[in-house]
């Protein structure tokens, strides 16, 4: 039933194939084809949404993908409330970014290739969220990884770009290593990898004592894909890719795959307190850790990249404390405002001849008004100012975190303060204050074409009102409403909910926490205002005073250097040793000396080489007889 559902992933695949094969002929039309493919997917997703809203879960198997022995994996999709939310985000935001790319990539030499990759990414991402089993998830998981690799390294002639692509793929593979073993554990214990099968047999996994290890290994995959500590290192470098790619893949969709996976397997994760605690700890640490690095960065895209890492940390806090709906809600609102921020950053760069250094910006507000205004909407949303979307989603997470442990709330609140500060710093340095734009560039500043600004405006609207569908129950209660978003998703998390203690938060506490987080957000903004607009405090002076800390932060805690010196170089040196010593000296040394001995012996044997066939034959016969005789008469 509902066979149409396959159109949703297959349209982008078709688009990818068309543009991949004929992109060089299509040239300018490639973007149009790709966008239409995604639009069709989006429209069918809307259709599916209404079916799911009526309470029907779409399950459709196309064919058996892999079957060998006991192992079976179907090419089958499962579209329930959780998948449909993801699909709407992926195709909806994906479509807007496709449209935007038509403007942003205009005139690119290999634009067909670009759109082919972009469509292929959407196909993989849709398979990731639509599959009904872990193997399709894995297919999508690695598929988006490859597209990410290709798109980060899209400007392959730049060394830094191709390096960043490689780094992203390898960091992800480290995560996928854990993910794969998680799948092995589950399959070898219960003999199935479908979500329904796992949900039905979690008890068996419990009994076998492998729930925690399976959950943690799967989460290792999530750390890679969703850029959590310590595998986050690839994401800042991923900004080498074209900006729409950063918006689509490295902000709105792919990097949230880990959150989706945990939510999808909520019934598994919730059964392991240890795994959930690890998720909360990693999420909290990452949220804070990444935010500190965003404080001092001067690259508009990298600030946003650290911000993404940090916000993903919040999502993991959400799912880790068992507030799955809240985590997914933040995933959605973040998709809106972070995509908007990246596209806005791209628009700024487009207007400034690809400048990314915020020290060379300033006072752009009047010159690119649409870009600036939409960017400001997103800034307010991420900073947590009500009623913008980020406020509701982040607050919902923090409230649940408070119940889990007030300490998590404290760290989350500090992170929120830092977020408000660094985002305000970014906005003030970019759009306000005095202009530091280079004179040559200044002359050519222009607002972008509508094909770019319209997606910005749509996303701005979503960033503003997107939070309203998930107003926390405590607040909605004031006017007799409810949290529609959480209610919609509740069937998916029903199983998990039955295992987590019913957290009940008193209204007074909830309002108190809300008030606190509003104050924190305003405080962050005000501090940035003092430093970068009012100039009441000199940022440089502060940096000088805490020069040690500043240096550590601006060098990203030297993690990249550490990885290179502590892990990569030793592996390469060890491999060199294996090759030059073990292979060449030991093994080949043995082979060659054995060869030499044979050669010496052959000097003697040469006398036997008379060249007469009958001599050889008789020697052979004698030999065979001797061998036979030995066995017969022994």
């Amino acid at each position: 039933m509902h066979d149409f559902i396959w159109i949703i992933p297959l349209m982008p695949l078709l688009g990818a194939i068309i543009n991949g094969l004929f992109g060089h002929i299509l040239k300018g039309k490639a973007g149009f084809i790709a966008s239409v493919a995604v639009l069709i997917s989006f429209l069918y997703t809307v259709r599916a949404f209404f079916i799911v809203m009526d309470g029907t879960i779409i399950h459709n198997e196309l064919f058996t993908w892999i079957q060998a022995g006991d192992f079976t994996a179907g090419a089958a999709v499962l579209v329930d409330q959780l998948s449909i939310v993801m699909m709407l985000v992926v195709t909806g935001v994906g479509f807007l970014i496709h449209v935007y790319s038509n403007g942003y990539m205009h005139g690119d030499r290999t634009v067909g290739k670009f759109f082919s990759y972009l469509n292929l990414f959407l196909f993989s991402m849709l398979m990731l969220v639509m599959g009904d089993n872990l193997l399709l998830l894995y297919l999508g998981w690695e598929g988006v990884g490859v597209c990410s690799y290709l798109l980060i390294g899209y400007f392959y002639e730049k060394e830094s770009a191709s390096k960043a692509g490689l780094k992203a793929f390898l960091a992800n593979r480290v995560g996928d290593f854990g993910f794969a073993i998680g799948i092995f554990i589950i399959f070898s214990t219960i003999g199935t990898i479908t979500y329904a099968g796992i949900e039905g047999q979690v008890d068996k996994l419990m009994a076998a004592g492998v729930v925690t290890s399976a959950a943690l290994l799967l989460f290792m995959g999530a750390c890679g894909k969703s850029a959590q500590f310590p595998l986050y290192i690839w994401l800042p470098d991923a900004m080498e890719g074209p900006t729409p790619v950063s918006a689509l893949i490295h902000a709105a969709t792919m990097v949230t795959a880990g959150v989706y996976m945990v939510a999808r397997l909520s019934f598994l994760f919730v059964r392991s307190d240890v795994a959930m605690m690890v998720i909360v700890i990693i999420g909290t640490f990452t949220a804070l850790f990444a935010a500190t690095m965003a404080l001092v960065n001067n690259d508009i895209k990298r600030v946003l990249a650290y911000s993404t890492i940090s916000q993903l940390g919040y999502m993991f806090i959400g799912v880790g404390v068992g507030a799955f709906a809240a985590g997914v809600f933040h995933l959605m609102t973040h998709a809106f405002f972070k995509a908007l921020l990246f596209l806005g950053a791209g628009a700024v760069m487009h207007s400034l001849a690809d400048e990314t250094d915020i020290r060379k910006m300033g006072n752009l507000y009047g010159k690119i008004k649409i870009t600036a205004l939409t960017f400001i909407m997103a800034w307010l949303a991420i900073s947590g100012i009500p009623p913008f979307s980020g406020f509701f989603s982040k607050d919902e997470i923090l409230a649940h975190a408070f119940l889990y442990s007030p300490l998590v709330w404290v760290f989350g609140a500090i992170g929120a303060f830092l977020t408000a500060f660094y985002m305000s710093r970014l906005v003030f340095l970019t759009f306000f204050g005095e202009s530091r734009v280079e004179p040559e560039v200044e002359k050519h500043i222009h607002e972008n074409p509508p094909v770019m600004t319209i997606p910005l405006m749509v996303l701005a609207v979503l960033s503003v009102v997107g939070g309203l569908i998930g107003i926390p129950a405590g607040l909605a209660y004031l006017w007799g409403g409810e949290n529609h978003f959480a209610n919609f998703l509740s069937p998916v998390f029903a199983n998990a909910a039955s295992y987590s203690e019913p957290h009940h938060i008193s209204h007074a506490l909830e309002y108190g926490l809300m008030a606190a987080s509003i104050l924190i957000a305003l405080g962050g903004i005000y501090l940035a205002y003092l430093m970068y607009i009012k100039k009441a405090m000199d940022p440089d002076a502060i940096a000088n005073r805490f020069s040690g800390a500043y240096k550590v932060l601006s060098n990203k805690y030297y993690v990249d250097e550490g990885v290179e010196a502590g892990i990569l170089n030793p592996i390469v040196r060890f491999s060199q040793w294996l090759w030059h010593f073990v292979d060449t000296r030991v093994i080949d040394g043995f082979v060659n000396s054995a060869g030499k001995i044979v050669w010496l012996l052959s000097l003697i044997a040469r006398r036997v080489q008379t060249g007469y066939v009958q001599h050889y034959a008789s020697v052979m016969v004698v030999g065979v007889i001797l061998i036979l005789a030995y066995y017969i008469f022994r």
């Binding site: 022995g69 690695e142 392959y156 794969a180 073993i181």
Partner: protein, 513 residues
């Protein structure tokens, strides 16, 4: 046509084609090449009905022929095909036309001899896969060696003599012991049954004592382990690959290496199941060491071809793991991975050959930014690399995943260590790809031309196979499933007997499983 006679025809068609070549004057190089290609293409097309008509629901030998060959010693011409051999047989006929077409421009000297060697090699390889008589098998096994030796020694690179000798000596060391074992089995069979026969089906029914199994297993296994090649018997491979012409490397990687893994299953497992059980830990160790060792050494290679050669050591390690983990899933994965490695590594060598023909170097540092001037090549090369590193959606993933997921239940620790290999597979392939294809276009590579029609025609079938197996592997796994089930069932019976006898696998105290 009767299917069994088709099998015979397909097997000997290349050799017959080689005979005809003798009549063509050597100066007619174009005609010689076209003839070689035509014969290999017809062979491939004729093998397709075999694949289609092969009944995957049966574990029995199919399309068999049995007749006296050398009655004096009881050797017979007994051939047939089952789930173990069907895929490898068709893989061979699939790869040969590609290999021949790939040598179109690169082989300019002694073209006639080259084609004859290629065609005889094909018949010998096909013969290896269908032989059900030990002497017949041995004959084909050795017959294969000569044309391969010539391919490396005559049409190879600078150090071709050293490489060719190393290849032959290594292989001979193994196969001589195998011959001794064959003779021993012959005598054993005679002692028990009174019949003079080298027939595999007859020898399979012998009850061989455990201690005899151990020695026989080792004699056969050495020959096959060298062929695979398993660590530490692998050092002939990089040299052979580097010196061999492109087609030689393609055949070496595509088909010859699989003879080792095929032989292990066909002979060691069916004839000496208890010894198989006994040696399992040893082979798991060597397999897993091979995975990581091959991957690490591949990573630091400076010559692309050597890199691909070491990657074979790593990939074959996975196959060994799948075979010795002894679940239907893992062994199915292993058999499929033999095909996958044949396709993907064969294709990698084809790709390396294509840029070698343009630049006459394979040093990674000589390249850079090649994508800019060879976008079509770049796309093909990338897909092949991705399939080799096991990206889902391509063939490599299906085989690798089945091996690992099937092995985990029996050998979790080995499987986890093996899985580390998938990280390094990505590392050595994509790092190489980045240095060769990405980065700024260097001066020396500016004038490179993209693939021509012939080269694209070689690549397309490979790419189609990569995705076919990746998306719908059932076409292939369905052919082998029953055979694998039967194999494992039989081995499990033998294992049960072993438990009664109270025997323990070697090294089992170090397993920690």
């Amino acid at each position: 046509m009767e299917m069994s006679s088709l099998l015979n025809w397909v097997t000997f068609l290349p050799a017959l084609g080689a005979l005809v070549l003798l009549a063509i004057p050597r100066t007619e190089t174009q005609l010689v090449k076209s003839w070689g290609l035509l014969v290999s293409l017809i062979t491939f097309l004729a093998s397709i009905p075999l694949f289609i008509m092969f009944d995957g629901n049966s574990a029995a030998m199919q399309f068999t022929t049995q007749m006296d060959w050398i009655p004096a010693i009881g050797a017979s011409y007994h051939v047939g095909i089952d789930g173990l051999s069907i895929l490898l047989y068709v893989l061979t006929t699939f790869i040969m036309p590609l290999a021949i077409f790939a040598s179109w421009n690169s082989i300019t000297e002694r073209v006639k001899e080259y084609m004859i060697a290629m065609l005889i090699l094909e018949s010998a390889m096909l013969g290896v896969f269908i032989s059900l008589d030990l002497i017949l098998f041995y004959l084909f096994w050795e017959a294969m060696l000569i044309p391969m030796y010539l391919l490396i020694g005559v049409w190879g690179g600078k150090r071709r003599i050293y490489a060719a000798l190393k290849f032959v000596v290594y292989t001979m060391v193994g196969s001589v012991l195998m011959l001794v074992a064959i003779v021993f089995l012959y005598i054993l069979n005679n002692t028990y049954t009174g019949a003079y026969s080298f027939d595999l089906m007859a020898i399979m029914n012998l009850k061989i004592s455990f201690s005899a199994q151990i020695w026989l297993f080792l004699a056969f296994a050495l020959a096959f382990a060298i062929k695979v090649p398993m660590f530490p018997f692998h050092t002939w491979l990089p040299d052979a690959h580097v010196e061999a012409p492109t087609a030689g490397s393609v055949i070496l990687a595509g088909v010859l290496l699989k003879m080792g893994t095929y032989g292990l299953l066909r002979f060691n497992l069916t004839l000496f199941p208890q010894a198989w059980e006994y040696f399992t830990p040893l082979f798991l160790w060597l397999g897993v060491i091979g995975i990581l060792y091959g991957a690490w050494v591949a990573m630091v290679q400076t010559d692309i071809k050597k890199l691909v050669a070491y990657s074979s050591v790593s990939h074959l390690g996975f196959i060994i793991l799948g075979m010795f983990a002894m679940t239907v899933t893992s062994m199915q994965g292993g058999i499929l991975q033999m095909v996958n490695h044949g396709v993907s590594s064969g294709a990698l060598f084809l790709a390396v050959g294509m840029i070698y023909e343009r630049r006459h170097t394979r040093e990674i540092s000589e390249f850079g930014g090649v994508t800019r001037v060879m976008p079509v090549f770049s796309a093909f090369f990338l897909i092949i690399c991705l399939s080799s590193l096991g990206l889902p959606g391509t063939n490599g993933f299906v085989g690798e995943f089945l091996i690992l997921v099937g092995s985990y239940g029996n050998y979790p620790v080995f499987t986890i260590v093996a899985t580390v290999g998938i990280i390094f597979a990505a590392a050595y392939l994509l790092w190489m790809f980045r240095r060769v294809m990405f980065g700024p276009l260097t001066e020396k590579n500016k004038s490179l031309t993209d693939l021509d029609g012939r080269e694209i025609a070689i690549m397309i079938p490979v790419i189609l196979m990569i995705f076919w197996i990746g998306v719908y592997p059932s076409t292939f796994t369905a052919k082998t499933e029953k055979t694998v089930e039967a194999l494992i069932e039989k081995a499990n019976k033998a294992k049960a007997e072993m438990v009664i006898e109270g025997r323990k696998p070697i090294l089992s105290d170090f397993l920690g499983e």
